[in-house]
Amino acid sequence: MAILDKDVGVSPAKRGVPSGAAAQRKSARQRKRKKHPPSAWLFLTPWLVGIVGITLGPMIASLWLSFTNYNLLGRQTFIGVDNYVRMFTDDPHFLNAAGVTFRYVLISVPLQLTFALMVAVLLNQGLRGLTFYRSVYYLPSLLGSSVAVALLWREVFGGQGLVNQALALLGWKDAPNWIATPQHALSTIIILNVWTFGSPMVIFLAGLRQVPTDLYEAASVDGAGIWAKFWKITIPMLSPVIFFNLVLQMIHAFQAFTQAYIISGGNGGPVDSTLFYTLYLYQKAFTDFDMGYASAMAWVLLFVIAIFTAIAFGTSNRWVHYAGER
């Protein structure tokens, strides 16, 4: 800061430059420098170091590692695409983990967004106490990724947990331990993700406020009912926001880790039913120290997320309506 202040602050007159031409030349140079100041790089330095040192560098390293056999202690041996081949042909755990994660993403994200949209529409009727309600519904999103809530979930859906106590009151005395049953364990984590619908809901609410009210008024004049208005106005007008939420929550869901780790006690059980992709990747890398294989898994994940995002973008022109476009 000091250097630059001096640089600009010292005027030619002060330095006793007599010639007007020289002063002009100087200020021209200054103007040019102001347009491309070297200090831009000064501002960018932390980010540049970060992107090279701990993002791009490691990405390249990870790509290289995915073609090797490496256990952190020994040497890296190049094994070509063996890791990738092994994944799809010789590792039932991997295929299972991919299946579990797909099921989780494909069920929990649409459910979560449906709840978010329903509650947002319900809230967006000029109700009193909107900000209070919005806060209440947002709270689970804030807490949902914490270990504390995952622990709570483990108990709530446990054998003698809150859910079963409530079911017993309703007359179902021998409800299963949901967490410990392979058919149900994943559902409890899906419910946990749906429970955190507050943050997409806040985005929907912001989007709903952008929908011009005269559209609804015009539709009312034409005799449109609530349903017609919802499907013909709300959904199309909100489609960019729906799209945004969909991409965001999908990317998020593919990377879910903490809840599965805590609820299954770190092993993805029972019988691998909650062995999420990221959890298996973690086990491969840091329990088996199969760093090459884990890196290959990471690249497959990146590839799958990229494909899903591309599908969302590719189909978006069919269902996403941007205002001002015809």
Binding site: G50, I54, L72, Y138, S146, G161, L248, A294, A298, I305
Partner: protein, 302 residues
């Protein structure tokens, strides 16, 4: 009450069958709102019930936790907090302190590094700017797991494991590109005349940044601080990977260790400590409503 510049059509609508129709319409709207209130409150209570239940369960003796879904304890006790506090060898105050130090350092790191980069992207000219900007946006969507393994190897090689450095140093290098993006958007919304005036007055880019932009972008900084705090407070994977000494644990890994060491046998103490671990988030939730809502609405962060 003739229409003052009102469109004729709406005036037409108000006459004719208007009187009764609007009255019954108003009644319909009123009942619809009432139904909405009831639904929202009922569903909201259902959603919050587990949290409220945990609050009270922390004050219940162990056997009562599993015997009734009711809220209020029949016997109030603070035993859970007493046993939980020293449940895994070190007092929880230790873990809370660790978590606070880590979260606060991360907040400082993100504010520092992201605001610098955002200012450069929003206001300064430099070579390869479009490419670098695209790169920055690209990293927002990048799944963390792609760099997880090599980052671990890197930090392991330079002997940073079992220190807080792998948790906090990346924040000083602007790895959370969301916040750069958020700040770029914000700075773009500030009038350029301010910069120009300051430049005419002899301020260089650094002075403009420090004296003009930074004070004006306080709202964006607040959003960044709030979300960085929440994320680092909740972060489980990174400390799980890098911290091996129990004394260095942050709260989430300490809770995990608690679960590992005592299993399901001591839900009461575990609830008590879980509850305490959520208190800082509640405080942020109460104090930073505005930042939370605007943060989610602008960049859609969780």
């Amino acid at each position: 009450m003739q229409a003052k510049g009102r469109p004729v059509t709406s005036q037409k609508l108000l006459t004719g069958r208007a009187g009764r129709a609007t009255k019954s319409e108003a009644r319909i709207r009123k009942t619809r709102k009432l139904i909405a209130h009831v639904l929202i409150i009922a569903f909201g209570s259902l959603m919050l019930y587990p949290l409220v239940w945990m609050l009270f369960a922390s004050f219940k003796p162990q056997d009562e936790i599993f015997s009734s879904p009711g809220l209020l304890p029949q016997t109030w006790t603070i035993d859970n907090f007493v046993t939980g506090w020293t449940g895994i060898g070190y007092p929880f105050s230790n873990f809370f302190l660790n978590s606070f130090v880590v979260a606060a350092t991360c907040v400082v790191g993100n504010l520092f590094s992201c605001s610098l980069a955002a200012y450069a992207f929003a206001r300064l000219e430099f070579r390869f700017k479009p490419v670098l900007f695209g790169l920055m946006l690209g990293t927002i969507m990048l799944p963390f797991h792609v760099v997880l393994v090599p980052q671990y190897i890197l930090f392991h090689t330079i002997n940073w494991t079992n220190t807080y450095l792998p948790l906090v140093v990346p924040k000083f290098l602007a790895v959370d590109a969301f916040f750069i993006f958020l700040m770029v958007q914000f700075i773009r919304g500030l009038p350029r005349e301010l910069d120009d005036a300051a430049t005419v007055d002899g301020c260089g880019p650094i002075a403009v940044f420090w004296r003009i932009i930074l004070p004006l972008m306080r709202p964006a900084l607040a959003v960044t601080a709030v979300f960085t705090f929440i994320w680092t407070w909740n972060d489980f994977l990174t400390p799980l990977l890098y911290l091996t000494d129990r004394s260095k644990f942050t709260v989430p890994v300490a809770l995990n260790a608690f679960l590992d060491s005592s299993g399901a046998s001591s839900w009461g103490p575990m609830f008590a400590m879980s509850l305490l671990s959520l208190v800082p988030l509640f405080v942020v939730f109460i104090l930073a409503q505005k930042q939370l809502v605007s943060g989610i609405a602008t960049v859609g962060i969780k």
